[in-house]
């Protein structure tokens, strides 16, 4: 069998239709949208059309859309920009222990500027309790940042409820929605959100482009200095082919959502059930409130990285929760926050499904996982079962 890609939460392949829309802007329409001449004006028109399209899909106005280099920059701009703008009103930020590092590390970095950060705990499924949010609010709280859906375990957070709490308390609410478009309905009105970050390559768009929704009237200090692009909020010439591609990708993600979600859920559930039929396996993340394509399971007695390599050898691309850095294997902060032991967290792998995956692939992957797990367990020093002879 050919190679099988099941790492769509890391990135997705570019949709052909998206590439087609981008091509003219990689070739003849090369102008700088800030230029006054014909070349610039043509591109400016396309840029603003793309902005309008995405704004309307998100339930925003075009003036509320700011393009960035991706999700990480959008999260940084949202958090640092708003915290600094509100410094005279307060210095307390609330976030959660399962955020992507683009949010978590950004919040923690603000401590150096005198901000206080509360990192909320999660339950065994990686979910935040809105009551914990309510209780964490102080007089000086200015910003609340919670992800829509978790990139590792796929748990969908109760963001609508949390958004209401933020609104009641007059606190800015930021959502890292990077894993959401294409998997969940995303509407800024419905979410009561002030700031929302997106990245195009997570929904079959190009890499290197994202956006930040900034609700009208929200003060944000810019982080980059330069030509004053994006109404002064994000200096630097716009990534035009990227933005054009992002608009098309988002349009497709919204129009195909209804068809896509049940198909992914069927693949996901078969994969989950197949894994759980094996011995000593645990499903990570929420059993029902999870992204339609997310599978995250821990196999006891083996290391996720070893399983990942073994799958890779057999042509299956997955991802492991642990990352080796500076001489220690760090289990996923998300799994540890959900109360998992280090050893079990180290046995976690994530398979994230996408548009091109099929039931046949799922069945093949299950077979490959079983073979790999059996092989690795047979040589594991902490597995009591029979070893190879």
């Amino acid at each position: 069998m050919d190679r099988i890609y099941m790492d769509h939460a890391a990135t997705t392949p570019l949709d052909e239709r998206v590439l087609e829309d981008m091509m003219p802007f990689l070739k003849e329409n090369f102008g700088n949208p800030s230029s006054a001449h014909f070349f610039g004006r043509e591109v400016r028109k396309a840029l603003e059309k793309a902005r309008e399209k995405m704004a309307s899909l998100l339930g925003a106005t075009p003036e509320e859309i700011y393009f960035t280099s991706g999700g990480t920059e959008a999260d940084n701009l949202a958090i640092i920009g708003s915290a600094r703008a509100l410094r005279n009103r307060g210095n307390h930020i609330i976030t959660t222990s399962v955020e992507h590092h683009a949010v978590l590390d950004t919040c923690l970095a603000l401590k150096e500027e005198g901000f206080e950060v509360t990192v909320l705990p999660v339950d065994q499924y990686g979910m935040v309790d809105p009551n914990d949010v309510r209780e964490a609010i102080q007089e000086n709280t200015i910003l609340l940042s919670v992800m829509y859906a978790n990139n590792e375990v796929g748990t969908i957070q109760p963001v609508e409820e949390i958004g209401k709490i933020a609104r009641e308390n007059n606190i800015l609410f930021h959502i890292d929605a990077v894993q959401s478009v294409g998997n969940l309905p995303v509407n800024v009105e419905k979410l009561s959100v002030d700031l929302l970050a997106l990245s195009a390559h997570k929904f079959y768009g190009p890499k290197g482009v994202g956006l930040l929704f900034i609700k009208e009237g929200t003060g944000i200090n810019h982080l980059t200095h330069g030509g004053g692009q994006e109404r002064g909020k994000r200096a630097g010439t716009e990534n035009i082919p990227g933005i054009i591609g992002m608009a098309k990708a988002m349009e497709l993600a919204y129009s195909e959502l209804e068809e896509f979600v049940p198909r992914m859920e069927a693949l996901r559930d078969r994969l989950i059930h197949g894994c759980l039929e094996m011995e000593e396996v645990k499903l990570n993340g929420h059993p029902s409130q999870r992204l339609p394509g997310n599978v995250n399971v821990s196999f006891e007695y083996i290391e996720g990285e070893a399983l990942l390599l073994s799958l890779d050898f057999k042509g299956v691309a997955a991802s492991s929760g642990s990352a080796c850095s500076s001489g220690s294997m760090n289990p996923s902060h998300v799994l540890l926050a959900a109360g998992m032991s280090e050893q079990t967290a180290r046995g976690a792998i994530r398979l994230s499904l996408g548009r091109h995956n099929s039931m046949e692939e799922v069945d093949y992957v299950l077979q490959v996982i079983k073979e790999s797990v059996d092989k690795l367990r047979s040589m594991s020093s902490i597995y009591q079962g029979k070893g190879e002879r």
Binding site: E303, L309, G327, Q343, S378, S381, G387
Partner: protein, 123 residues
């Protein structure tokens, strides 16, 4: 991340598994990264390591370095085997990523523990 030799040993590990009635057993764990390697040896009357097996809980580097060590040790005299270092194991694999060099390269130490166990049993 890993070179071809490391991947080859990872995918086709030599001497993985258990041993019945070993003459020496050694187990080493790394507290920081959680890897655990266990080595079993069979030694003949001349002091030659006739057979060796390993079991490892750890990443690709941990499994590959265990496999490599067993290959280096088989047929060697205990006095020679005890001199093998983790650096030599890594060198024989054509190198390991720096962050893996110490945390996932426990086989040489596990062998030393197995040799000590063997010698203790001789007394």
């Amino acid at each position: 991340m890993y070179n071809e030799k490391v991947m080859e040993h990872f995918n086709n590990p030599r001497n993985a598994g258990d041993m019945e009635n070993p003459d020496g057993v050694g187990e080493i764990g790394n507290v920081r990264c959680g890897d655990i390697t266990k080595v079993f040896i069979k030694v003949n009357e001349q002091g030659i390591i006739e057979d060796i097996k390993f079991r490892t809980f750890g990443c690709g580097a941990a499994i590959a370095s265990s496999s490599m060590l067993t290959e280096m040790v088989k047929g060697k005299h205990v006095d020679e085997a005890v001199k093998i270092t983790d650096i030599e194991v890594a060198d024989n694999l054509g190198g390991l990523p720096p962050q893996k060099l110490h945390c996932s390269n426990l086989a040489a130490d596990a062998l030393k523990a197995a040799l000590k166990d063997y010698q203790d049993k001789q007394k």
